[in-house]
């Protein structure tokens, strides 16, 4: 039904969140409900922030199938997450001063993404991290 790829630029703090804004607007045009859009937007925004702050940027792929299943795949260029268990712990963060000044680094990112997604899959290695989320649109 719909396939779209977006580029996320490393350390581009000013445009951080722009892709998630585009994704939300595109899904709104398809006609998805505001509540599901809010969940998708929160997950996408948090993941996009992680890519900009921690993971050297990368790509976000959005797929919407005929049954209304929305799949977002975040493929970053970063060094991987050394300790995934710690990264999934509320309050744990490695964000730098600049990110904290922008209001991030609360250590809620991955926890929050998992909470609002219907499925959550993360694969990480020194070659990068691939986060795949799905949402039932209907």
């Amino acid at each position: 039904m719909l396939n779209k790829s977006f580029e996320v630029v490393n350390q581009d703090y000013h445009n951080m969140g722009k892709v998630s804004s585009q994704i939300k607007k595109m899904l709104l045009q398809i006609g998805f409900d505001a509540k599901i859009l809010r969940r998708i937007a929160v997950a996408s925004y948090e993941a996009e922030i992680n890519m900009v702050i921690h993971a050297y940027g990368g790509n976000i792929l959005m797929n919407v199938d005929d049954e209304g299943l929305i799949t977002l795949t975040f493929h970053d260029l970063g060094p991987g997450i050394p300790d995934l268990e710690k990264a999934m712990t509320p309050g744990w963060s490695t964000a730098d001063e600049k990110a904290r000044n922008l209001g991030f680094g609360a250590g809620m990112g991955l926890v929050n993404i998992k909470r609002v997604s219907d499925t959550f899959d993360i694969k990480t290695s020194p070659a990068g991290t691939i986060l795949t989320l799905t949402f039932k649109g209907y």
Partner: protein, 121 residues
């Protein structure tokens, strides 16, 4: 609590007003934070009836409001958006004010008049 009452209680000045008739909109909840991840975590099931109080007056507070469909942000401690970010507000549904009160005082004034904190599971 109506938006116009929140503004009056906080003695708040408008930075940007984008939604028609929003002064008559009823707000049930308030969330106060400088951490946008906390706002995203705590308000994500909201229906837009939450006012965000924050001292984080940068573009990411606007993006956070956009993701959550928030229609009212009040910046505390008299903070203002810079010109670049002000342009972005014109494309948004969000209404933005600034109050000279500190975060603590602003929260206290609203709480005393009956506005509630968001429900935390």
């Amino acid at each position: 609590m109506l938006a116009k009452d929140i503004i009056k209680i906080l003695d708040a000045e408008p930075i940007n007003i984008n939604t028609k008739h929003f002064l008559e909109k009823d707000y049930q909840f308030c969330f106060a934070t400088d951490l946008m991840s906390d706002a995203l975590a705590m308000i994500s099931n909201d229906d837009g009836s939450t006012v965000l109080l924050t001292g984080c007056c940068n573009i990411q507070s606007l993006r956070t409001a956009e993701m959550l469909d928030l229609e009212l942000i009040v910046y505390v401690r008299g903070k203002m958006l810079d010109i670049d970010n002000l342009d972005m507000t014109k494309e948004m549904r969000c209404n933005i004010f600034t109050t000279h009160y500190t975060m603590f005082d602003a929260c206290g004034r609203l709480y005393a008049q009956g506005l509630k904190g968001v429900n935390v599971e």
